[in-house]
């Protein structure tokens, strides 16, 4: 009798192995070698940038529709919803969002810019994919239910999250995974803004902090692809209908300067409000965090009863301000209450972006300033809408502290280069005022409040570079000629005050040798030999006085000193750099390097 024992169930590992073997067999039969390197990592990185752009663009389109659909569902289609909804919707929305954030998506809190920077500088480019989902759901709910926040920064973080997930799944090198997050960030922001140049600049200016050729191409590709997708689905039109601009009179620039002052002060108020209230609310008991967004929503609802324009991102109303549809009093009121409502929303921990509120406040302030000036000096003032447009850039410069992006954003959105003069004047003044009275920029302030010390791009820009000229000293020794007979060279080297003598070959290439070494080697050389026969072919690395000191350290290696030569005449020795000199220079200049008020770690 043969007993038939039941076949034991296959273990998951065995199934896995069997499937893999079958797959490999099939692959070989059809001659497909997917593991072969069809694409090198640099090419894959660029292809991935396009893919990230496409997916981010699609995500942002869906995100915008989700926000609008939420708004339509909860408020109805009337721009001025009934009072009960105005009060209830943001409150209930706040409760739901708080619950989702605390229970399921804790990393969806905040605007998204710092989280992306943290991914780059702390987590090796790692952003969990559920952050993307959390950001999408929570921000769509928050903004759709009237919280005074915008969709741009969340789009930036979603793009970064998508990029990070793809980079990891494609097993890019750690360095590339780290760099891919900003690429996604640019794609997300470009799609949200429908403005690729501004997005690229913002990411370079605020997230990466430097122009590197390696990442720039990918950032641009991603931004362009995402904008193409957004335009494909949502049309070519910019976020706002842009008014015509022409400078009526040179004196009008004074009006833009006034706008810069008011914009700078307003930025300052908003940053100070956030900086003051956010840590205090965070310090409250954990249970209160479930209710903070709801309370913020209720307060915004109360404001919304009189000024429904402050609820949500408010793009329609920015557009109306640009077309002179509000009186200056109304514009000023809207700016003031938007500052309040944005502070409520942001400090309560509701996820959402700061870009749209900054644009809103800027447009209202610009419109108000333009209207007042138009009233008193009609012959000197152009269209009020232009002031609103410039005001947007002004707040961007003062509040977010990204001066380059702020200028290019206005240029890109307006498509009018001639607006550059007022934009530059106004933005610069706002930026300077904000920086003077609030040395720490908003994103740095937020990161420090969160207990992280992300690199401050503003501080990096302010860093004082230490150059070779700060460390070099005069060369006291003798410069030998490469064709010199060894006997003469030895005699001259002995007379040299330096222990290390330089040899110049007449073409600007420098060699060097210690006196002892020269003496030792010369003894073994035949009579009549020249220095050339003794010295190595390879020339010494050299420096120029304007090289940064880091470069000197890199080139110095084990050498006792390096020649510093003139850029126009390599045969002219300007001085020498030694390790001791470099360290001395760092010691001297070091304390002056950081102009910001970087806090000491607790």
């Amino acid at each position: 009798m043969t007993s038939t024992s039941p076949t034991p169930p296959a273990s998951p590992i065995a199934t896995h192995t069997a499937a893999r073997a079958a797959w490999d067999k099939l692959r070989k039969r059809i001659g497909w070698e997917p593991e072969s390197e069809m694409l090198g990592e640099p090419q894959l990185f660029l292809l991935l940038a396009v893919i990230i752009g496409l997916i981010s663009g699609l995500a942002v389109v869906l995100f915008r529709i989700a926000i609008d659909w939420t708004r339509l569902s909860v408020f109805g289609s009337d721009l001025t919803p009934p009072p009960t909804r105005t009060l209830l919707v943001p409150t209930v929305g706040g409760l739901i969002v708080a619950f989702l954030v605390i229970k399921f998506f804790p990393r969806a809190r905040g605007s998204g810019v710092n989280q992306t920077k943290a991914a780059l500088y702390i987590y090796d480019g790692f952003i969990p994919f559920n952050t993307v989902i959390g950001k999408f759901v929570c921000c769509a709910l928050a903004i759709g239910t009237g919280q005074s926040l915008g969709p741009e920064d969340p789009s930036l973080q979603m793009g970064a999250g998508i990029a990070s997930a793809l980079g990891r799944r494609l097993r890019l090198s750690r360095e590339k995974v780290r760099l891919i997050a900003p690429v996604g960030a640019a794609a997300g922001l470009a799609a949200a803004f429908n403005a690729p140049i501004s997005a690229v600049l913002f990411v370079i200016e605020e997230v990466i902090g430097k122009w590197t050729a390696g990442v720039l191409g990918a950032v641009v590709l991603a931004a362009v692809s995402s904008v193409v997708v957004v335009r494909w689905f949502l049309g070519e039109q910019p976020l706002f209908r842009i008014p015509e601009y022409h400078l009526v009179h040179p004196a009008e620039l004074l009006a833009y300067a006034a706008l810069g002052v008011i914009g700078g002060i307003s930025s300052l108020i908003l940053v100070k409000l956030i900086g003051y209230a956010r840590p205090r609310l965070k310090a409250l008991p954990r249970w209160s965090q479930y209710f903070q967004p709801a309370v913020a929503g209720l307060l915004i609802g109360v404001i919304g009863l009189g000024l429904p324009q402050v609820m949500g991102a408010g793009y329609d109303f920015i557009d109306q301000a640009m077309h002179d549809e509000f009186t200056w009093r109304m514009l000023a009121l809207l700016a003031a209450f938007k500052i309040l409502s944005t502070s409520f929303s942001f400090v309560s921990g509701t996820p959402g972006g700061m870009f749209a509120p900054a644009l809103f406040i800027g447009a209202m302030i610009g419109g108000a300033v333009g209207s007042i000036e138009h009233h008193f000096f009609p012959w000197l003032t152009g269209q009020v809408g232009t002031y609103a447009l410039v005001g947007m850039g002004t707040l961007f410069a003062g509040f977010l502290r990204v001066p380059m992006t702020s200028v290019f954003m206005v240029l890109e959105v307006s498509g009018n280069y001639s607006i550059i003069l007022p934009v530059m004047i106004s933005n610069t003044i706002a930026y300077l005022i904000s920086r003077h009275y609030q040395p720490t920029a908003l994103f740095d302030l937020l990161s420090r409040q969160d207990g992280t010390d992300l690199p401050s791009m503003e501080e990096r820009r302010e860093e004082v570079s230490v150059h070779v000229e700060n460390a070099m000293r005069a060369y006291q020794g003798t410069v030998l000629n490469i064709e010199e007979p060894l006997s003469t060279a030895l005699a001259r080297a002995d007379a040299s005050a330096e222990d290390f003598v330089f040899v110049e070959d007449g073409t600007g290439k420098w060699r060097g040798i210690k006196k002892e070494e020269l003496r030792r080697q010369a003894a073994q050389m035949p009579e009549g030999a020249t220095l050339r026969s003794l010295l190595p072919e390879e020339a010494l690395p050299h420096l120029h006085p304007d090289h940064v000191l880091e470069e000197a350290l890199r080139r110095l290696g084990d050498l006792p000193l390096l020649p510093v030569v003139n850029r126009a005449d390599f045969r002219k020795l300007e001085g020498v750099v030694t390790l001791a000199g470099i360290l001395e220079a760092y010691r001297e200049v070091g304390p002056r390097r950081f102009k910001g008020t970087r806090p000491q770690p607790a």
Binding site: I55, F126, P128, L170
Partner: protein, 406 residues
């Protein structure tokens, strides 16, 4: 941050919140998903899928937006027609929130803004629309109307002209003519008869054979002083509708204004036959008849008749002079400084020589008598206002004799 957790495979720190190293983990997918090229293919499939989903969502959303925009627009139109401009304004704003670049909605919003006296906002909207489409007829017309409201005549004329030469939906010829007639109306109100006449001549040259239209344009031409062109239009209208009372009145008035009283009387009579209630036409006809009855200079009149008419004219003038003096409280016997007294004194001195026979025989006397009559009527008109009836007839005869049109 749990930085001390390190991956056993690659030795790198495992990020906070992750159960295992994200770079080395295989938990997310099957073995073939680990392969780069396979994964890329999957990503492309995912992109296509996302495109389809997004396309569907966008189409649905746009359909909802279009529906909402149309609903709010219809509500705005109804509110605007009912005269509720404020409600219409809110409705059009809502409509524009869902169809931001719709030029029709923007135009209606601008109209609602004008109706609620928010002219600067309306102008901004209209200027934006014009910037986008300089050849948009309705936009140019609205801008012209705004300029008219603000009495900016050159701008208004410019916008009207732009509107005339712009694109119009529907029946462009009719819309252009309507715009031109609105411009004419504006010009007439701004006392720019010559410019109005030029516009009307342009309108007249493109008029279809429509009696009503010809009569309407003819009436405007008459207002602008273009009697000859007006008359031509009235006659064209009468050729199509011989019993059209307005055309008959118009033609009669043209003849009247050009001093052709016989023709005027004929046309006005025909008009009154069609509609006896035309009081102004009747008064004009009576004046024409009076001119014809009183004028001693009409050719082919007998000498006696001529003298008699001069005598009647003189008597009428004296009556007017006395009535005017009484109206103004002037004693014609004693008020030496008054021009009416001077004329009265002159007439009294002249009166004895004015016998019927002398007037009939002496053409110079007749001429002098009529000159005096004309002077009295003119002076009385200046002192006591526009004359009526026979006095008006005498004034008209005077003007005709002076060589000008009445």
């Amino acid at each position: 941050m749990e930085l001390d957790r390190r991956c056993a495979k690659c030795g790198q720190a495992i990020p906070w919140g992750e159960p295992e190293c994200p770079l080395c983990s295989e938990r997310l997918g099957y073995f073939w998903l680990q392969r780069r090229d396979t994964f890329l293919i999957l990503v492309f499939v995912l992109i296509i899928l996302l495109f389809v989903i997004t396309g569907y969502a966008v189409r649905r959303y746009h359909a909802v937006e279009r529906g909402l925009a149309q609903d709010w627009y219809s509500r705005g139109e109804q509110a605007l027609m009912a005269g509720h401009a404020k409600a219409a304004l809110a409705d059009f704003r809502n409509a524009l929130a869902y169809s931001r670049d719709n030029p029709l909605f923007q135009l209606r919003l601008a109209q609602a803004l004008v109706a609620t006296e928010r002219v600067p906002e309306a102008r901004t909207y209209l200027l934006n629309l014009r910037e986008r489409d300089p050849g948009n007829g309705p936009v140019n017309l609205e801008l012209a109307r705004l300029a008219v409201r603000e009495r900016a005549t050159p701008e208004a004329v410019q916008y009207f002209h732009d509107a005339v030469y712009s694109d119009w939906d529907g029946n462009p010829a009719v819309r252009r003519r309507t715009v031109r007639l609105e411009l004419v109306d504006f010009l007439l109100h701004s006392d720019q008869e010559a410019a109005a006449r030029a516009e009307l001549i342009a309108v007249a040259s493109n008029l279809p054979p429509d009696a009503k239209l010809q009569t309407q344009v003819g009436a405007l031409l008459m207002k602008a002083g273009g009697y000859d062109d007006a008359l031509r239009l009235f006659r064209q209208a009468l050729a199509a509708e011989p019993r059209s009372a307005p055309a008959l009145v118009g033609a009669g008035e043209c003849y009247f204004q050009t001093g052709q009283y016989t023709q005027a009387q004929r046309y006005l009579n025909r008009a009154l036959q069609q509609d006896p209630n035309l009081t102004q036409a009747a008064a004009m006809r009576d004046t024409a008849r009076a001119v014809l009855d009183l004028d001693p200079f009409i050719p082919r009149l007998g000498e006696q008749e001529r003298g008699q008419r001069a005598r009647e004219a003189f008597d009428q003038a004296m009556t007017r002079l006395e009535a005017c003096a009484a109206q103004r409280g002037i004693d014609l016997q004693s008020a030496h400084d008054d021009p009416l007294h001077t004329l009265y004194a002159q007439a009294t001195t002249f009166q004895p020589s004015m016998r019927q026979r002398s007037l009939s025989r002496d053409s110079e006397l007749l001429s002098n008598t009529m000159d005096l009559v004309f002077e009295i009527e003119k002076a009385a008109s200046q002192a006591c206002g526009e004359p009526q009836g026979l006095d008006l007839a005498l004034v008209l005869i005077a003007r005709q004799q002076e060589g000008g049109r009445p």
